[in-house]
């Protein structure tokens, strides 16, 4: 048994690389050798699995691998997103401190923007124009915005469409943020959307339109900024 010259012939046999004479030889041996039969059975599923990969792709794994640097755009986005997260963490620490210090009113003005029912016009003469948000990176999301000035701030109406795509990844949660001239970001709405959905929502901020630097849609799970639109203060 330990001197079995056929002990490592199993793989060559299952991938069909033995010569006809060797194959006959090995098959005769298999009839009398349970150990070799077991070895063949162990790897018998491999040819079927290898068959899932086209020849050209498999042969390409033998070529020297071409190593390319990651695109500059990717690096840029990575550090932008991380920077946004750090700024947000700092702000929420400051907000927590402010609340603890009893300055709850000021904090509420920043955080307290909430989704409210459709706003009745405050006697605005003409409906403000609807503008499309710009993609900050390729995604399945598109959105239109309408900003209406109110006595208390700005009403933001948004229609957000989640186009079906081969690589969308199911239902996701998004947030709409308002950024002021100083770069302070506050979340004014969140919603969930699945491929093919169109979400209509109205959000509110205490900022006047002239104080809004930009409005941005981000993916809540990843923190990735997806869409942006400059405001009057940009």
């Amino acid at each position: 048994m330990s001197e079995d010259r056929y002990a490592d012939w199993d793989a060559a046999y299952v991938v069909g690389a033995l010569s006809p004479a060797e194959r006959q030889d090995f098959e005769r041996h298999l009839e009398t050798c349970p150990a070799c039969r077991a070895s063949v059975a162990e790897i018998a599923a491999m040819p079927g699995l290898l068959g899932r990969v086209p020849d050209t792709q498999a042969m390409a794994t033998l070529a020297p691998e071409v190593v390319e640097p990651p695109p500059a755009e990717l690096t840029q986005r990575l550090f932008d997103t991380a920077g946004d997260e750090l700024a947000e963490r700092r702000r929420s620490r400051i907000r927590r401190r402010a609340v603890l210090a009893g300055a709850g009113v000021a904090a509420a003005a920043v955080i307290g923007a909430a989704v409210i029912p459709r706003v009745v016009t405050d006697g605005t003469p003409a409906a403000p124009p609807t503008v499309a948000m710009q993609q900050m990176r390729p995604s399945a999301l598109t959105a239109q915005l309408q900003l209406t000035q109110k006595k208390w701030g700005t009403s933001v109406s948004m229609s957000c469409r989640y186009r079906d795509s081969a690589y969308a990844g199911g239902v996701r949660t998004y947030a709409l943020d308002v950024v002021d001239a100083q770069g302070n970001r506050s979340q004014v709405s969140t919603w969930r959307a699945a491929p093919g959905d169109t979400s209509k929502l109205t959000a509110a901020t205490a900022l006047q339109p002239g104080q809004i630097k930009s409005l941005q849609v981000r993916d809540v799970a990843t923190g990735t900024l997806l869409l942006t639109r400059n405001g009057a203060a940009s």
Binding site: A17, S19, L49, L50, A58, R77, Y167, G169
Partner: protein, 170 residues
């Protein structure tokens, strides 16, 4: 706090971004998808404090990054498959779902194949995909035929192990 955090991300990026990017591009064959996956993977590592210095982690940051990236790609392939199943529920056979399955399995097998050492991979690939015999491979690589058989033997076992780790076979 923030300069430190930025430096940690910078270090992760400089040490691993190129390897991770090339790995994910080969895995997905799609640069747009690869960008999303690499960014998400690097951010998770950064948020989770994964670094090469951390002695609490048994595996290196590189292995951690590759595993997370592969799982993201696989999860997305699976959810794409589920979406197609829901949409095409009423059809008796599901050509789109089958295609997603096929693409998914192809990706996993190719990934597993790449984990083999070059010595193992070259004999397996030449034999199976190049349809070469042991004798032909031995002549081209200037190796004894016994060595070719032995490398195939260990190569297919390494492949089986890699596929088991990826949940493809028992």
């Amino acid at each position: 706090m923030s300069p430190t955090d930025q430096a940690v991300l910078r270090q992760l990026h400089d040490d691993h971004a190129t390897a991770l990017w090339n790995y994910v591009v080969r895995l997905t064959g799609d640069r747009a998808t690869a960008q999303d996956v690499v960014q998400e993977t690097m951010l998770r590592a950064w948020r989770g404090g994964i670094t090469d210095d951390s002695s609490t982690r048994a595996t290196s940051a590189r292995a951690w990054l590759f595993t997370v990236a592969r799982n993201l790609v696989v999860d997305d392939a699976r959810s794409a498959r589920r979406r197609h199943e829901i949409v095409e529920d009423e059809l008796p056979d599901d050509p789109v779902g089958d295609r997603v399955d096929a693409v998914f399995e192809q990706m996993i097998v190719l990934d597993a194949l790449r984990t083999l050492s070059i010595h193992h991979r070259e004999v397996v690939v030449r034999a199976y995909y190049g349809r070469q015999t042991v004798a032909e491979i031995a002549a081209e690589l200037d190796l004894p035929p016994g060595t070719v058989k032995s490398r195939m033997h260990y190569g297919l076992r390494a492949l089986r192990l890699a596929l088991q780790e990826r949940g493809v076979t028992r």
